[in-house]
């Protein structure tokens, strides 16, 4: 129910959806973000396109249920600080989600206008709000928070851990975040290439969190540098947000050949190289002048594609066993990759990586799609006799990740699903594991998923902890 604003009720028709980005030839020369940020006027114009629907489908679809129409309205009115407060109320990392959420599958995909009229570029506005507010000196207002004297340890400074820490800090609980790496963010920092998420964003967000009183114990691996017992002794609760790092292999011959690389170490190595942070456990791998094949159709595959292009690969082809319509990755990333010169080989299922002592090519079979399952995805069926070999110098395997919880968790009564995910309780105290003092969330409990869902889990785990402490 919106108040009539005759002057701009039709702004969604008169102004277009806008998402300016650098031209592909320019952007492949660097690892910086490709989207041109909004200024005040363009943010207001774009926000003004929002219809203020009675059913805010964007908000409904958003995993953290951001109050999107409300902050769009505030941006339209130029009330940036109120927008920032509101945006940060439901999301711990709004400027990051604004950059890397697959909006076309979430808010923007659900947007009423995404039906021929062009969805409001919600993600860009979300990014604009917090970026700009922080630049203008905004900080979350914690002035009326009363310390509770409770403490919680958080393992993993990824999105889940940060989401958890954010809520704890806002509710007077001391949050100490442990991470084995030398910077916060987890995959946000190291897994996601800089052209999608500028690393300054993370360091700025770290400052915000530190100003909120969150403490980070970096370069500290729990189970090695500090034990779980110690954490349970020192803290009222422990949150596990350790993600999923065990990558899925293809299970076909030739995966061990030199020139075959799993996606994640490849991406991490590249980021560390860009930031001159040293190799740590993921050495830099350069694709310059190579013919590169990327296997997979998800966002990690897209990151590999576009990283390889930027490294100066001679050619980059992405091999996927379903067709374009049935690929899981973000539409926007697909478009970006295509623009940047990535070739897509759809309906090809890898059978074997061929080569004598190093990669020389990939044997694939063509597929056709069978009937859709109840989720609407159609399964690939190989077409006999359609095998072929695609020549390559390097193969990047991006088939996804599986949970790999540390084995010592079992000693503390934490239970697991068969596939390795940590079991957490359903309603009531979401996030609580079988050990009432230990909470978990993110990929670790739900399996490999989005940043925003990890944030959501971390936040809910924090609420569950607050509830368990009767705060």
């Amino acid at each position: 129910m919106s108040v009539a604003k005759p002057d701009n009720n039709f702004k969604f028709l008169t102004s277009e959806r806008s998402l300016d980005k650098q031209a592909a030839p320019d952007r492949v020369t660097h690892f910086n973000e490709i989207y041109v940020p909004f200024d005040e006027q363009s943010a207001a114009d774009q926000s003004g396109r929002c219809l203020g629907c009675g059913n805010p489908y964007c908000e409904w679809k958003c995993p953290v249920h951001n109050f999107i129409p409300d902050w769009l309205a505030l941006v339209e009115e130029g009330r940036l600080m109120e927008a920032a407060e509101l945006s940060n109320r439901t999301n711990s990392l709004p400027e990051i989600c604004g950059r890397i959420c697959p909006q076309d599958r979430l808010c923007e995909g659900a947007c009423t206008l995404n039906d021929g009229l062009g969805a409001v570029t919600i993600g860009s506005v979300e990014k604009y709000i917090t970026d700009t507010a922080l630049k203008q000196g905004w900080q979350p207002d914690l002035s009326d928070v009363v310390p509770t004297g409770k403490r919680m340890a958080i393992i993993g400074a990824g999105p889940a851990g940060l989401g958890c820490a954010d809520i704890l800090a806002r509710n007077g609980v001391e949050a100490v975040v442990y991470d084995r790496y030398d910077e916060i963010g987890g995959l946000l920092m190291f897994g996601i290439p800089g052209f999608k998420l500028d690393k300054d964003v993370i360091t700025l967000r770290r400052k915000v969190f530190e100003n909120m009183g969150i403490k980070f114990q970096l370069n500290t691996e729990v189970g090695k540098d500090i034990s779980m017992e110690q954490l349970l002794d020192k803290y009222d609760g422990v949150f596990l947000g350790m993600g999923t790092y065990k990558f899925v292999d293809g299970g076909f011959p030739g995966e061990g050949l030199p020139g075959v690389y799993p996606a994640l170490p490849y991406l991490i190595g590249n980021v560390r190289e860009q930031l001159s942070m040293g190799a740590a456990d993921s050495p830099f791998i350069d694709m310059k002048d190579k013919n590169v094949l990327v296997l997979g159709g998800g966002d990690t595959a897209m990151d590999c594609n576009r990283t390889a292009i930027r490294q100066g690969a001679r050619s980059v082809s992405c091999v996927y066993r379903r067709d374009e319509a049935n690929m899981p990755g973000s539409r926007a990333e697909l478009v970006n990759a295509k623009e940047e010169g990535v070739e897509f080989l759809w309906n090809r299922q890898p059978l074997e990586i061929v080569g004598d002592d190093k990669v020389e090519g990939l044997k694939v079979v063509r597929t056709e799609l069978g009937p859709a399952d109840l989720n609407g995805r159609r399964s690939p069926q190989p077409i006999p006799g359609s095998e072929e070999i695609i020549a390559a110098d390097a193969v990047l395997v991006a088939f996804g990740f599986r949970p790999n919880p540390p084995h010592w968790l079992e000693q503390f009564g934490v239970e697991f699903h068969k596939d390795g995910r940590v079991k957490v309780q359903g309603t009531g105290s979401v996030g609580q594991t079988s050990n009432p003092r230990i909470f978990a969330g993110g990929d670790m409990s739900r399996g490999s998923d989005l940043v925003v869902t990890a944030v959501h889990d971390g936040r809910n785990a924090a609420y569950a902890f607050l509830d368990s402490m009767d705060l």
Partner: protein, 1496 residues
């Protein structure tokens, strides 16, 4: 006796309404005759069509006579019965119980009480009665009818005698309260009454006394009743002891309470013991009876009828520009003594000396009078009830709004309205009394001086705490309060309300949410608070009420404010009133709750006692405040405290000694504030809303003071709107009237706090409210808890449940786009297994029946005939969506509904046509051609989104197509008035139904109502008005743009309305006569099954098929920017973004019906018919929350034992009117050949007032063959003589001309599309045509073409919503050319006030030369909002003046030629001199250069 009232269902006897025809006949010099009585009886019979006839076809709703005592006759029959009468005696007809034991007890009691008063009962006489005059129902309930004769004491005068009679009667009534039959009709030494449950023609047959030639009188008032109540009752037949009333007292509940509240103030020096007569007004019975009760006590206490009427039914004096200061002072003075009895009212009354008539402030009931050469005055609802030779008629006229007319039969004096006003104005020096004693609150000094001191002083954290404490959400701030603060305007929304009733909700909902606003439908009209603001007032007085009978200066000692919504400043001024002797007591509403059980009720009792003590100690203002917060305490909900204190003080009779002011954070929106006032608050100080508004203004960098003023202005407007929905004009009458229905409140709450409000299904208890408030308070003090986001208006994750939430919309889209069952199953499962969100979700269907094979269930083709799409106009919907719906319903075999706004001719007769054509208050596009192209004609009385309110189609939505269909021009804003201006009362609805059945005899007529308490009673009235179908809509609502508080707080769930209607119709043997449709948020087959089991035989679907067409429930329909192209007129959105197909709707209904069939199979029932009303197949579910568990839905499923075996569904093909319209049929027979062969011709007829809707039958025949204007070139002319009944020339088609020598009643030329209507007085008349009323009210309503020439005056609302007709008349009443959008109206004489209100098209000429008083000129009569006026003296611009002058002259020339009017001839003879006396009135938006061409 029949009068058993079922208590287990939803029907309640207090839902009684009545309306009717009435009249008065008096010989002005007091000359008695039997012929006068005979004339009254005859004219009563001529009003038969204004009354109702019961299901037995014979029992009327009652009629009767109140007659100046026929002395000779009474003495004669007394003598025959050996009864000795003294010089001073009284006689009265008494209804006694048919059980002789009870009758005997009653006689003894009355005898004893009369004896106690020092009177002598001379004897009892059995009144001869002829039972063969009675119908079956009347016979069943017939009392023993006897006449008592009482002799006065020698030293009593007549006034004393009547007062003793009154006391004896009141005491007897109180003693015999348990005997429902006992009733003393009138017991007085001046008048006597005969009345009964018969049709008028049979009244003299019932009472042979009336035919006795010795039965002579000089005054007779009479009445024919049309009760919407279904149990006709002998004692409620009218006239009562002093009056007969046509109309409805909308404020009666409040009036009854206030009569009780002021109990002790009725002490008259003439009354020995006022306690004996209390309560002076009965709480049962009809509104008219209560009115009579009040008049009874006032007159018995020594008041005269003029002052009594002034007190009870004042005119709209506040805003009348022409009222003299002395008269205004007199009215203002009296407004300080009593609140008005407000509502449509024509009242005839007599005390034996005076015979008088009074009309309400808005002139909503007609009253036409004739004075003949034998000095007899006849006055009635209609003209022509007595046939007088033209040469005997001296004068004729009508009573205008708020007027009173009387004859004094002792002196022979005729008191015209101006005479009575003069008398009232000069009775006392009211002006100086007021000057001396009264004050305005704005003038009061108070401590705070600077603006800053008037700020609320609540900011930041403190404000956030308050917001959390009182559950003020972000949504409310931005969507509700901000529009008020910014624009002084309540926000608008659309797509109705899809959230659960408060009692079903899992969220914290305030007590205000439990109350649904009452609204007027059928039995009385809502008012247009914008265009007819002139009759409305929020004036509120502080100060003690005094004795009603004392006419002393101290009554004026009041402090007045112009709104009951107090600003900070006003609140402080009010607390400073002790300087005027008005001192305030502040009562804090907070208390400390206990952990084991609620003490809320005890706390409330304590508050009541404190208020009582304060008043006993002399305090005159009680302030109930929840402002001071405390961590350990929670407040009593302010509404509970207000209601409880009000009732407590009322019961003690001391409410009038103090005002109750509420300082609260809980009331912020208009509904909340209206609820407080409706339950008795004198004024409300919404401090938290004001603080929030200040904060909003600061955020926008605006002035907080202005924002607060805007907020109050917006609330004021919304209060007008809420009052006007019930047809109430003044806040004084609204206050304490409890015009709400409680849905989901337990009796333990209702009884102490809201006693008397309708509450039928129980629900939340004190503990539930206390728990909610504790929960809020807990969070309020926690800094970390943020202010809630909301979700009551829009879907918010985790907030209130919405029945059309995104999941459901998506699922439905998936089902209709793919056509796959699994997607529909997902949709149906989401709906059918949702958390209980509607009442039907707490009602399960039987699972222990023996199933039958699906193939045994009747097929889709049979079931679909029961499915209609709900009325959605082309205007709301895009043409594409509108046609998709029509095509889908036609292909399926159901029916689509045109909605309001006409339909393109190229859709008639093919699959794009809407089989249901709607007739709504705007009458847009309603022409004879439109009406004959329908299977069903639906009169939309109200709509679920905003019952009781009008609508507006903004100019930017009116494109070429819409303008053509609605007979207007593009870009013109089109207003649908709140009421149908031809339905102010139930008998008016009967008339409109008759009009429609005349123009299209094949069509069924449907009446669409919105569920509310008493809808069963209304539906029974509608059935008796001969509707064939009744649609019961829930509160849900659709595309209509509505103020948010209307969306949320008016109308109740259809389940309650449907069940009540079904139960009530069965109880009264009417169920088989009319079909019932349920409509409201139904989505699945399970919904259909439940509706059928509750009594519906057909089903209306609005939103669901719209969603099927692609609607995403955006709630922006009112902005014209619907992104799905469904509800917009924007070309781009319609063309490029509308993706709906008829097949999607077809697919949807196929799924629904298949699901329906499957459930039928599981119930073992093969046909829909066998489902209807089978509530035995339903059972109550326990509910999932405490509150749900406290509900008691058993009344919804109840079946009264007396209904067993009665029909469950309609079995009559149609509901034929009693009036067969024989003369109209004759006319059709006579003219059919001329129509068929386009021959033209002239035909002659005599007509009487009982010949109604003359012309419509022929127009229908013409339109069927030739459309609206296809026969205009070879017209048929009917030459009529006499008085035409109502609706002369209604829906007139081109090709039919009517020429009437005589006069006509209301609705002449209503909906006419073409042809010519000519009216002139009989050639032998003695009066001057330009001083004499020739036709009644609401003429040319919704006309689209044709001409009307009338040599005489027209009534109120002439040309209302005219969009094309041209007319010339010699004078008109108030509200002329209201909402006009086209055509030309020429008035050769004066108009009433409020001319041109809401006029957006066409233009008018009015002849009003310079007035005697400069401030009484035409300028003061015009509503200047949308029109401008120009003298026709050259100022228009030379060439323009000349063109318009030439046009005007032509109009007058045609008029004079057609009517032979002498007055018209005078204008032609002196045109140049007269021309400057004319005004030209045009909409501001119209251009002189083009305006003329557009209408000619």
């Amino acid at each position: 006796m029949y009068n058993r009232t079922p208590h287990n269902g939803l029907y309640r006897p207090e839902f009684e309404h009545d309306s009717c025809g009435f009249g008065l006949i008096a010989q002005m010099d007091g000359v008695v005759s039997h012929s006068l009585v005979q004339s009254a009886i005859d004219s009563l019979a001529r009003l038969t069509h204004r009354g109702a006839i019961a299901a037995d076809g014979k029992t009327g709703d009652g009629c009767g006579l109140l007659i100046r005592k026929p002395d000779g006759f009474l003495r004669a029959v007394a003598a025959e019965s050996d009864i000795k009468l003294e010089e001073l005696y009284a006689a009265g007809v008494v209804f006694l119980n048919s059980d002789e034991t009870l009758a005997s007890r009653a006689r003894d009691e009355l005898n004893q009480q009369l004896a106690n008063e020092g009177l002598t009962v001379a004897g009892w006489r059995v009144v001869p009665v002829n039972p063969s005059a009675l119908g079956e129902q009347a016979t069943r309930s017939q009392p023993q009818i006897e006449q008592i004769f009482v002799n006065g004491d020698a030293d009593m005068d007549e006034v004393d005698f009547n007062r003793h009679l009154y006391f004896a009667r009141r005491r007897t009534e109180k003693v015999l309260a348990d005997d429902d039959s006992f009733f003393v009709t009138a017991l007085s030494c001046h008048v006597i009454s005969y009345k009964g449950l018969v049709m008028p023609a049979r009244l003299p047959e019932l009472f042979p006394d009336l035919g006795d030639p010795r039965f002579t009188s000089s005054i007779c008032i009479y009445h024919q009743r049309f009760s919407t109540n279904t149990s006709p009752s002998w004692k409620l037949a009218q006239p009562f002891r002093y009056l007969a009333h046509n109309g409805e007292i909308n404020t009666v509940q409040g009036n009854r309470f206030w009569a009780q509240a002021r109990g002790s103030k009725f002490a008259s020096p003439l009354f020995d013991n006022v306690d004996d007569i209390l309560p002076v007004v009965n709480s049962g019975g009809s509104d008219s009876q209560s009115l009579d009760n009040m008049l009874d006590v006032l007159l018995s206490g020594g008041m005269d009828i003029f002052r009594a009427m002034q007190l009870m039914i004042p005119p709209a004096w506040q805003n009348d520009p022409h009222m003299g200061e002395d008269l205004r002072a007199s009215h203002r003075y009296h407004s300080m003594i009593s609140e008005p009895w407000d509502g449509p009212a024509g009242i005839v009354l007599t005390d034996g000396r005076y015979a008088a008539c009074r009309t309400d402030r808005n002139g909503l009931r007609p009253a036409r009078w004739v004075i003949t050469t034998d000095r007899t005055i006849t006055l009635a609802s209609e003209t022509g009830v007595i046939d007088y030779p033209p040469e005997q008629v001296l004068r004729k006229g009508r009573l205008k709004p708020g007027e009173m007319l009387a004859v004094d039969t002792w002196t022979g004096e005729l008191l015209m309205p101006a005479d009575i006003d003069r008398m009232l104005a000069q009775r006392h020096p009211y002006e100086s009394w007021l000057k001396q004693h009264s004050h305005y609150l704005t003038d009061i000094d108070c401590a705070a001086k600077s603006q800053a001191e008037f700020g609320e002083g609540i900011h930041g954290d403190s404000l956030r705490t308050y917001e959390k404490f009182f559950n003020l959400t972000y949504e409310e701030l931005t969507q509700v309060l901000r529009p008020l603060a910014d624009n002084g305007q309540e926000a608008t929304g659309s797509m109705g309300d899809d959230t659960p009733m408060a009692v079903l909700s899992r969220q914290v909902r305030s007590i205000y949410d439990y109350f649904r606003q009452s609204f007027a439908q059928v039995t009385n009209p809502p008012i247009d608070p914008l265009r007819e603001n002139i009759v409305m007032s929020l004036t509120t007085n502080f100060g003690r009420f005094r004795n009603v009978f004392d006419e002393i200066p101290e009554h004026a000692a009041k402090v007045t404010t112009d709104t009951p919504v107090l600003s900070r400043r006003a609140f402080q001024q009010m607390q400073a009133l002790d300087q005027l002797g008005l001192s305030a007591e502040m009562i804090d509403l907070h208390y400390r709750p206990l952990d084991d059980g609620s003490i809320l009720q005890q706390v409330i009792e304590g508050i009541c006692s404190r208020a009582e003590e304060a008043i006993r100690a002399g305090k005159t203002i009680i302030i109930l405040s929840d402002r001071t917060l405390d961590r350990e305490q929670i407040p009593v909900p302010a509404l509970m405290a207000t209601g409880a204190v009000h009732h407590h003080l009322t019961r003690l009779g001391i409410r009038g000694d103090a005002q109750v002011v509420v300082e609260t954070g809980s009331a912020r929106d208009p509904h909340q504030i209206a609820t407080l006032i409706g339950f008795g608050a004198t004024a409300v100080y919404p401090f938290l809303a004001l603080a929030a508004v200040e904060q909003i203004a600061e955020g926008e960098q605006k002035d907080p003071q202005t924002a607060c003023a805007n907020y109050i202005k917006g609330i004021n407007k919304a209060l007008f709107k809420i009052m006007s929905k019930m047809g109430i004009s003044t806040i004084a009458s609204y206050r304490g009237a409890q015009l709400f229905e409680a849905v989901g409140l337990h009796d333990e709450v209702v009884n102490p706090c809201f006693e008397g409000v309708t509450s039928r299904i129980s629900g939340s208890r004190f503990i539930d409210f206390e728990n909610d408030q504790r929960h809020l308070a807990r969070n309020a003090w926690k800094a970390r808890k943020v202010v809630e986001q909301g979700g009551l208006l829009k879907y918010v994750h985790g907030g209130e449940y919405h029945a059309y939430n995104p999941d459901i919309v998506r699922a439905l889209h998936g089902a209709v786009r793919t056509g796959e069952q699994r997607y529909y199953d997902e949709f149906a499962s989401l709906v059918n297994h949702r958390p209980p969100a509607t009442l039907r979700d707490l009602i399960g269907i039987s699972n222990d029946q023996t199933p039958i094979p699906l193939s045994d269930v009747e097929p889709l083709e049979a079931i679909i005939q029961r499915f209609d799409s709900a009325g959605m106009s082309l205007g709301a919907l895009s043409p594409e969506a509108h046609e998709s719906l029509a095509i889908a319903m036609n292909r399926l075999g159901g029916r689509s509904n045109s909605g309001e706004g006409g339909e393109s001719i190229d859709r008639y007769g093919n699959e794009r046509t809407s089989k249901i054509k709607q007739v709504a208050s705007g009458r847009f596009g309603v022409t004879p051609h439109y009406l004959v192209n329908a299977e069903v004609l639906q009169i939309k009385i109200a709509q679920g989104a905003k019952p009781g309110e009008g609508g507006q189609l903004p100019g930017d939505k009116v494109n070429d197509l819409i303008a053509t269909l609605r007979y207007t021009r593009p870009g013109v804003t089109l207003i649908s008035p709140p009421p149908h201006h031809d339905i102010y009362s139930i008998e008016d609805l009967a008339q409109l139904i008759f009009d429609l059945k005349q123009v299209n005899p094949e069509a069924l007529v449907s009446v669409k109502l919105v569920a509310q308490a008493g809808i069963g009673t209304i539906a029974a009235g509608v059935a008796k008005a001969y509707a064939d179908l009744i649609t019961i809509s829930g509160y849900d609502g659709g595309t209509a743009a509505s103020p948010l508080t209307s969306v949320k707080y008016a109308g109740i769930p259809f389940e309650m309305g449907l069940a009540e209607t079904h139960q009530t119709l069965r109880l009264n043997d009417l169920r088989d006569k009319v079909r019932i449709q349920a409509d409201g948020g139904m989505k699945t087959g399970l919904d259909v099954i439940k509706a059928a089991l509750l009594g519906a035989e057909s089903f209306g679907f609005g939103t669901a098929p719209m969603v099927a067409l692609g609607c995403k429930y955006l709630r922006i329909c009112h902005l014209n920017n619907c992104a799905t192209g469904v509800a917009t007129q924007n070309d781009e959105l319609r063309k490029a973004h509308y993706h709906g197909l008829p097949e999607m709707v077809e697919t949807y209904f196929r799924f629904v019906i298949e699901e329906t069939r499957q459930i039928m199979a599981s119930l073992g029932i093969s046909t829909m018919e066998a489902l209807i009303g089978r509530t035995d197949l339903l059972h109550l579910l326990p509910g999932e929350t405490d509150k749900q568990g406290h509900l008691d839905l058993s009344p919804v499923l109840a079946v009264d034992e007396s209904a067993h075996g009665k029909p469950q569904f309609c079995s009559s093909p149609r509901n034929e009117p009693f009036d067969k319209g024989e003369k109209a049929e004759q006319m059709v027979n006579d003219t059919l050949e001329a129509i068929d062969n386009k021959l033209g011709g002239i035909f002659n007829y005599e007509v009487q007032n009982i010949d109604r809707s003359i012309g419509a039958r022929i127009s229908g025949e013409i339109a069927k063959r030739y459309g609206n204007l296809g026969m205009a070139d070879c017209p048929i002319t009917l030459k009529l003589r006499g008085t035409a009944g109502q609706s002369l020339g209604v829906w007139n088609a081109g090709g039919l001309n009517l020429e009437l020598e005589g006069d006509a009643n209301d609705y002449v030329g209503k909906g006419m599309a073409g042809g010519q209507l000519v009216l002139y007085p009989p050639r032998a008349s003695l009066f001057k045509s330009h001083q004499t009323t020739i036709m009644g009210n609401t003429c040319l309503y919704g006309a689209t073409g044709g001409t009307l020439y009338a040599a005489g005056l027209a009534g109120e609302r002439f040309g209302v919503r005219n969009s094309g007709a041209r007319a010339v008349v010699e004078g008109i009443g108030d509200h002329g050319c209201e909402y006009m959008t086209g055509g030309v109206v020429t008035v050769l004489g004066p108009t009433g006030i409020n001319f041109g209100a809401g006029m957006t098209g066409g233009f008018a000429f009015v002849y009003e030369p310079e007035p005697e008083h400069a401030d009484h000129g035409f300028e003061t009569k015009v509503n200047h909002e949308l029109v401008e006026i120009h003298r026709m003296d050259g100022r228009v611009g030379d060439s323009q003046t000349a063109r318009y002058a030439a046009f005007l002259r032509d109009e007058i020339t045609h008029f004079t030629a057609a009517t032979g009017s002498d007055w018209g001839q005078e204008f032609l003879d002196n045109f140049a001199e007269r021309l400057p006396g004319f005004w030209l009135i045009k909409p501001k938006i119209s251009e002189f250069e083009t305006m003329l061409e557009q209408v000619v």
